[in-house]
């Protein structure tokens, strides 16, 4: 008998952290993440989860506490969003550089100014060079599944990097969907115990963590994180396959997911909940005899460039949809990262849904139309902009 609960994305994230039996949670509430840490506080308070819940005064403290907790060898979880993630920025580098396998849920939300609590992906994109692994969920079930996998990815001996699981603010965080909750024992069996060999603060065996790295050594440590990100590509795929085998749910190859790509000359690329809308549009157009494809990026860091190139072999036109913008370049992050690998195709960048602007099926159809007909190679178009 499957245990299916109809829950929000933040609850799914909290359930996942509970299932993975985290030892320490340090988080500060921020919209639209709040309900996730509220749920976790409730789990700890009513004894459902045996963990230390550290109440902190800011997100900077939350992630600092997580780094400290992780340095003692504890399985650590935190959650944040937008301005909170921005406030964590400097410690995000420390977490990655110190190779702390912290798992974070980030509710994607726009950054001020103007103050805006709604969804876009500028917050996590702004943290892309911190060294964190970044995964993006399409729906609430995927959120739960990715967080369970995230602990195993982060704690892999050859990876040892923090993982950020991103879900679109409100679109997923506050929407209830049926989510299958696996048995705790089965999850624990899958994730396993975290037995840190590299970092484990204990009085009998003192060690120095977070030491100074002068110019003689700093570059090597950054290169080390790069190597770990490379290794993570295979680890993520491998863990995804094992997860699929055990729990019966698969998401492409764990890094990317193709939808009707093999039949299509025009392919859309994006991340997160927007993929669901696009899949619907593709199905509708397929019924009319028109073939379009979607390439969903699950792992944004590490970015599986080889897999992306391979998946897009047959495509002629590529529309890259970004819920973020690199100001001054007029391009989104996915476009700037992927387009250099697709020189033989027409690549068009669409800036969509900033600050929670709705992206409707009609917008997707408009994008497809534009890509195929009037768009010029490497063009950028803002969708639904009031001029």
């Amino acid at each position: 008998m499957q245990n299916v609960k109809v829950i929000t994305g933040t609850s799914a994230a909290a359930e996942a952290a509970k299932l993975a039996d985290v030892d320490v949670i340090a988080a500060y509430p921020i919209t639209p993440q709040t309900t996730s840490v509220e749920k976790l506080a409730e789990f700890v308070a009513n004894g459902e989860l045996n963990a230390e819940y550290i109440k902190v005064e800011s997100e900077h403290s939350a992630i600092s506490a997580c780094v400290g907790a992780s340095a003692t060898g504890a399985r650590t979880f935190t959650a944040t969003s937008s301005q909170g993630l921005a406030l964590m920025h400097e410690i995000l580098f420390a977490a990655a550089g110190m190779r702390m396998p912290i798992v974070m849920m980030n509710a994607n939300r726009a950054l001020s100014a103007p103050i805006n609590i709604w969804n876009d992906q500028q917050d996590s994109i702004s943290q892309r060079d911190t060294g964190w692994i970044q995964l993006y969920a399409e729906n609430n079930q995927e959120t739960l599944d990715l967080i369970i996998q995230a602990f195993k990815i982060a704690e892999n001996e050859n990876v040892l990097l923090p993982v950020m699981v991103n879900l679109d603010g409100f679109i997923l965080t506050h929407t209830v969907e049926p989510v299958e909750i696996p048995e705790k024992e089965k999850v624990l069996n899958f994730v396993g115990q975290y037995e840190p060999k590299h970092a484990y603060l204990r009085p009998e065996k003192p060690m120095t963590q977070g030491a100074l790295g002068d110019p003689e050594w700093y570059m090597e440590t950054r290169y080390d994180v790069q190597k770990a990100q490379d290794v993570a590509l295979n680890v993520i795929k491998d863990i995804h396959d094992k997860f699929a085998e055990k729990f019966g749910r698969a998401y492409g190859n764990g890094l990317i997911e193709s939808y009707n790509i093999e039949n299509a000359e025009t392919v859309l690329i994006t991340m997160g909940s927007l993929c669901g809308t696009i899949k619907d549009v593709i199905d509708e157009l397929k019924a009319e005899g028109k073939e379009y494809g979607l390439l969903k990026i699950i792992s944004y860091r590490p970015l599986p460039t080889e897999e992306i190139k391979e998946a897009l072999k047959g495509a002629k036109n590529v529309a890259i949809l970004d819920k973020d913008i690199s100001l001054g370049l007029d391009k989104g992050a996915l476009f700037t990262d992927i387009a250099p690998f697709l020189k033989d195709k027409k690549t068009v960048n669409y800036i969509v849904g900033l600050g929670g602007r709705d992206i409707r099926k009609a917008n997707i159809k408009e994008i497809i139309e534009h890509t195929e007909n009037e768009a010029k190679d490497t063009e950028t178009k803002w969708i639904g902009l009031k001029e």
């Binding site: 550089g97 003192p206 963590q209």
Partner: protein, 86 residues
């Protein structure tokens, strides 16, 4: 090579890590002019000016970074900063 996460498994070894190599200016202390007021000893941010058994102050150049705060604070101008020569 650096350990994963720059973790040092033998703490206390920073004593072997000589930090004086960064120095651009070098303070020279003239013990004949020194009145043993201990100002340099108090103000040195690196704690590398110490009295020896005779009470004469010595600068530990293995760790002195050449900030010349000692020169600034010395009331009798017994300390002079010169450009470090390698």
């Amino acid at each position: 090579m650096v350990n994963k996460g720059t973790i040092i498994y033998e703490p206390g070894n920073s004593i072997n890590n000589k930090t004086g190599s960064w120095r651009v200016f070098k303070p020279i202390l003239d013990n004949d002019k020194c009145i043993k007021c201990e100002n340099c000893y108090i103000f040195c941010p690196e704690g590398c000016i110490q009295p020896d058994e005779n009470g004469d102050f010595k600068i530990d150049y293995d760790y002195c970074k050449g900030c010349l705060i000692c020169e600034e604070e010395c009331p009798v101008k017994a300390i002079t900063g010169i450009r470090e020569e390698k």
